[in-house]
Symmetry: C2
């Protein structure tokens, strides 16, 4: 194991506790909040009314910033930043995209900078207090220091980390996800598995305790996804699925494993930036393609994965089973299914390579290697 | 799974970073500290000199409180409390006992109360900032809200919890444990397994993700203990062992499992209070005895344990393997080995029963049941 620092100050509240949000802000002395959300779903399911009532009961002034998209955009975040200059806190109500855009707004509002500067090297100095009510578990953003945003003018989907990005309090009510269509569930499952797999395969060292921790998250994600596809109202499974999501990217899997690359995310972000591909759908295409490339270089960790997760003895079978499972839950496994043809591959590889320096990845990912990987996704 | 709240604000630093402690206190504005430690070991291994130099380099005034014993006592903690009234922070340097006594001192110093009041119902209002340099991993106290102390006049070993008990920063340097004798390692391993087992067996509900998480900690503790018995300088194993200890009792295992009883700790605390038994040694005696009682009531979770940890098909074999393993690492498994005879059992059971109300345990633990359990430890 490697030395490490772990500090995650976010307070998690798992349960039907969204009505507490007014009191939580009030107890921290807030008199105003930027309420960030997506489109209409929180109005349809009553969450919007409940949150607004809870805030008004504590006399907290609300400024609204709605319309966050599933790949949140720079232009929309900039609009939020203008409004944030009039409040003392930010409340994200929605899924990971809403949380990510809120993080960037909260930091830029007190760091005297444009939002895109945060994603291109500027270190934020202060941030507005951020609170979260999470309705979809997938990105882990409710308990971590990262944020992702797309600059739609330059086709760049970038991320940045800052300890200022940890939410103060995140309320996770897994019940809200019961009404979502199954493709959301599938893409969320892929995202959780992707976060886990990146660390599991790309860490510097692989202590047994962390191998088993990662395998546990993957197994639990698979188990609970299958339960939820059978019965979308299985609340036990909803909670456990949500916990998989939080644990997959709140820093626990990275404890003691040294530096970690995120190549599958690097590959996927360009698909999202160029084609507005849903993140989970892009990941289920690139993960098997990337594993088929990796297995030729070093199959040791893939063999462990195959045994622990699918009880298979060879690395190739492990990859095949994962691909089959993605297909089974309805997530795409080829570029063709995303309506991206082989002739686009060079363009995508160029976009990936251009942004690869930002990922501080090992320099093995040349344009040729990226093309080789993407070609594994044509079938 | 059950709804839950999780908030653990302690910053963990795993590594050879004890020389940073002066800067860490200085950056938080501290000008004085109560330096709490045990007997001579930190003077022999150079840690004392290193810590004092680091604090003096930042012009932090040091008041010393040494002589903490392995079952820390109320009278000694009270001496520390008097000294703590002159400082703004507390630094615990040592194992779990030093950390626990420091927690109680830090809270009593700003809560205008006697130390024993904290252990008998008083809710602390404020606490001095607490910092930790951990030299022995076992209790998990470096990243949790609990503290344990023995009132040697009344033979009561009590614990209490408060969110004020979380250390601000804990530096864990697993290298310090390399020079400890093997019985420390064995007792520490038992303590880690005990913390994990209590939640694993005594939780209200048993989600798969938490079952596997607990099994992982137990497996990793067994693996790394065996490596360390072969090579006490195996630093990889030291780090992983230390992480098992932190994870076993920092709240992660309790997420989503509802209420949890700690019967083995209840039983053991009376052994420590009456006979000054080392905590780990007492636990390795009571755990198998308690499991032999439990297996007759409900063996379902024990069967899962037997399969996952020892690859055995029956609950009885699982208990036998655990007992054999405790014996193998040199920890006692019978009261006889602790020089406690069968005729003491009623006295011990009375002590346990007297304190059992404090543990808010299910009322199944009558004096008769406690005697039955303890009788399983006579062989």
């Amino acid at each position: 194991m490697k030395p490490f620092i772990y500090h995650n100050p976010t307070k998690l509240i798992y349960g039907e506790k969204q009505d507490l949000i007014g009191k939580i802000l009030g107890e921290s002395g807030h008199k105003s909040v930027l309420l960030v959300y997506g489109r209409n779903s929180i109005k349809k399911n009553g969450l919007y009314d409940e949150v607004v009532k809870s805030l008004r009961d504590e006399n907290i002034e609300i400024i609204e910033h709605s319309g966050v998209s599933s790949n949140p955009t720079l232009s929309h975040a900039r609009e939020g930043l203008e409004k944030a200059k009039k409040v003392t806190s930010v409340l994200a109500v929605g899924g990971g995209s809403v949380v990510d855009e809120s993080k960037a707004i909260a930091a830029a509002a007190l760091s005297n900078c444009d939002i895109w500067e945060l994603f291109t090297g500027k270190v934020p100095t202060y941030a507005l207090d951020l609170y979260v009510i999470l309705t979809i578990s997938a990105t882990g953003s409710e308990m971590n220091d990262g944020a992702v945003l797309t600059n739609e003018k330059t086709d760049e989907k970038f991320s940045y980390k800052s300890k200022l990005n940890y939410p103060k309090v995140s309320i996770i009510n897994p019940k809200f996800a019961c009404s979502l269509p199954n493709d959301y569930l599938a893409y969320s499952a892929v995202d959780i598995i992707a976060h886990t797999i990146e660390v599991y395969f790309n860490a510097e060292v692989h202590p047994n305790i962390q191998n088993r921790f990662a395998e546990n998250i993957i197994l639990s994600t698979i188990e609970t996804t299958e339960k939820l596809l059978k019965n979308q109202n299985d609340l036990d499974a909803r909670y456990e699925f949500a916990l998989c999501s939080t644990w997959a990217l709140n820093g626990l899997t990275k404890i003691g494993v040294g530096d970690v690359d995120f190549p599958c995310h690097m590959l996927e972000h360009s698909l999202s930036a160029l084609y507005d591909t849903p993140h989970g759908a892009g990941l289920s295409v690139v993960i098997p393609a990337w594993l088929k490339w990796l297995v030729k270089r070093d199959d040791s960790q893939i063999r462990g994965f195959a045994k622990a997760v699918f009880n298979k003895d060879s690395a190739a079978e492990g990859i095949e089973e994962l691909e089959k499972w993605f297909r089974k839950i309805g997530s795409p496994i080829s570029l063709n299914e995303l309506d991206i043809s082989k002739k686009e591959i060079n363009k995508i590889a160029q976009n990936i390579y251009k942004t690869s320096l930002r990922w501080r990845m090992s320099d093995i990912y040349t344009v040729n290697v990226i093309e080789d990987i993407l070609n594994n996704a044509i079938h």
